[in-house]
Symmetry: C2
Subunit: 408 residues, 2 copies
């Protein structure tokens, strides 16, 4: 397996001055310790290089923050143009209303937009808006869904007190009966229901909504005067230019976006409907860097390019090529793969295992062959993934399947 | 008063697609509607230009995010060098351990560092670490202190439920008896005590710590096994290169930094002591853009420059020149000004008023003369403020005092 001396040396240094060395989603423990690199050196298009000089065809795209490819020239030029003028001022820049106009034009249900820096900034603000608007406390969410790291929703348990979660109630994905049961139990107390457009847990298959599930959730929410909050942070603008709700035929009251928005430039957004405008002004929202014009200029360029190039169609095409190619390559060595989620952001596992051990070994072998495929998290494609890159990735994966077959 | 047609036109457009048009600390309502510009066009050094082409000598520095001056070439070059390699990857970059090494070297009590994007990310994480470490729920804070916009600490009330604040207890600044009373009432239940190095509320005089207050708070916290959390987000690296606690002769267990760190590049940090390392690994901390290497490279360069140039000494010098000059200019027209807080980040008001009306009028007149002085918030100076800029600012302020004197 790979020799990663620079990664290991940096991690040794980091472990002295950072708890755990690397934390959060990039933690080696969340990937494959000793098999995946720990530190990146540079990136371009759909490829990156680690600090030991190894090159990878990338299928994580900065965990989704890279939608057009690393260093996309259109986004970089827009950012650079704004950077010459400045980034954070005492006031917003002209680009802020422009970006809000662009988003409310792209997303059909939205009458207004606000901006933050993290996904969590927006999901937490959205549930506050729901509480402000309804005067109610309770929030319904899907079991195992990730909505960020704030205390009400963090997947961790450290430092959480019962009051953080005493009004958060969960139901299983696709389970209308469970929603109805929670509503019957807490009628008139539920402020909002938050969900992702499809269920994309870590360490598990993605689950698409059953036909009619999301429209029915909307109908129930409307009837009970519960705000429907779409967490489109991971999938937004990857499945449809107008937001993921358009794919599944429903309309939320509020929707949160982040990852695809700025091609790596730091921005998140919540979009909302007219009747929530006053409530939105009442929930205080700010941050030291939140008027940063460079990220907003980058986002405006990124969204323009997503729209002009029809990014979702491209992602579906190259994602499907990848899935089909990997399935064929696997079958040549007697393996059967299961893919779940949309092709633009697929989750892969071996059909005959649920413990991920074989999948982890495959992903380690694939990394060694120069393709970065994550064993525990859905993958991401980008505008920079072309047919050549997919072909190369499938070839690398074929070599990894061959080695896995020899080992077993 | 000024004619701001471009600001007004942008605000008209923004108000359609953003609740309130502009929210948070940059909201016109938080400044001087109709007198201060609403949108910035560009900035350089200690000056900025609004979208109507008016130039201002700036004493807010992007609400403190600009520590070295807008567009500082050393920071821009470091950021640009990293940007050519990339910003957000699947992994951190070598600059992350380097930045943690730099911070733990600069700040005496700190054995480790973690990074976020907003100040709130860090203050909220710090109280979670305190809860995790102590197994207790309660947090003590200073009445009227600003620690960010998360539900436990937001100055707003919209969308807040009683459970968000049921374990947050406040005491008046400088009041040791009140702290002791709270501890007696909740002995063994208090996880942490959070405070700023001096009290810097909006709409009020800054208050320095009484001699011995902070060392005594530390002593009490140590005795009661309460974690002492320093919110150095606003003052950090402006009062002392080693962090503001060194000025006031105490040592916190955790300290949060943000504004001065990156000269506008988006980063925040928490530093902590060795005994909290394990607890820190247990409180999940991540965000889509948090490994962004450009902000970390900018921060490394910014901290190097703060250290090399002894920024705090410069800020104290130019801040003192400003204060003395403004006091003299005011007195020429029969006004007496009160300055509070350290000269590096002073708060000014007229001695004979508490309702801010005269101060607001003065700041409006000063803005019209080309100097941006905030009536409700402490000001900030930067490395780019030289004696010439201070002299020009005092001249502009003198003209504003003269006009105010005529009006009254």
């Amino acid at each position: 397996m790979p020799n990663l001396p620079e990664s290991m040396e940096l991690f040794r240094r980091a472990s002295k001055v950072i708890p755990g060395g690397i934390y959060g989603h990039a933690s080696p423990a969340a990937g494959l310790p000793g098999a995946f690199p720990y530190y990146a050196e540079k990136a371009n298009g759909c490829r990156y290089w680690d600090v030991d000089g190894r090159e990878y065809l990338d299928f994580m795209c900065g965990y989704g923050t890279i939608s057009l490819g690393y260093g996309n020239p259109i986004v970089e030029e827009a950012a650079s143009r704004q950077r010459k003028k400045g980034s954070v001022f005492n006031h917003p820049s002209a680009v802020m209303p422009e970006l809000a106009e662009k988003l409310t034009e792209l997303v059909d249900f939205a009458d207004w937009a606000v901006f933050g820096k993290n996904g969590s900034d927006m999901t937490s603000w959205a549930i506050q808006v729901a509480r402000e608007f309804t005067g109610r406390k309770k929030i319904l969410k899907v079991q195992g869904a990730y909505h960020g790291v704030d205390p009400w929703c963090t997947p961790g348990s450290g430092g959480i007190i019962e009051e953080d979660v005493s009004h958060i109630h969960s139901f299983p994905w696709n389970d209308l009966d469970a929603i109805q049961t929670l509503i019957a139990r807490h009628r008139g107390e539920i402020a909002g229901l938050i969900l992702t457009p499809f269920h994309h847990p870590a360490f598990g298959d993605s689950q698409m909504p059953e036909k009619g599930f999301l429209p029915k959730v909307q109908k129930i929410c409307n009837k009970e005067e519960i705000l429907l909050i779409l967490d489109d942070i991971r999938a937004g603008f990857r499945l449809a230019v107008g937001g993921s709700h358009t794919v599944f035929d429903f309309e939320p009251d509020l929707a949160c976006y982040c990852k695809a928005l700025g091609n790596g430039y730091n921005i998140s957004a919540t979009l909302g409907r007219e009747h929530l405008r006053i409530a939105a002004t009442k929930v205080f929202l700010t941050g030291s860097y939140w008027n940063d014009a460079v990220s907003m200029a980058a986002s405006l360029a990124c969204l323009g390019e997503i729209q002009a190039s029809n990014l979702p169609a491209h992602l579906e095409k190259v994602g499907s090529l990848l899935i089909n190619g990997l399935s064929r390559a696997a079958s040549e060595y007697g393996f059967k793969m299961v893919f779940s989620g949309p092709p633009a952001m697929p989750f892969m596992r071996f059909q005959d295992e649920t413990n991920f051990f074989k999948l982890q070994r495959f992903c380690a072998l694939a990394a060694n062959e120069g393709v970065f495929l994550h064993p525990h998290h859905n993958w991401f494609l980008s505008a920079a993934h072309d047919e050549l890159a997919i072909t190369q990735a499938i070839e690398a994966a074929r070599r990894a399947f061959a080695k896995l077959s020899e080992e077993l």
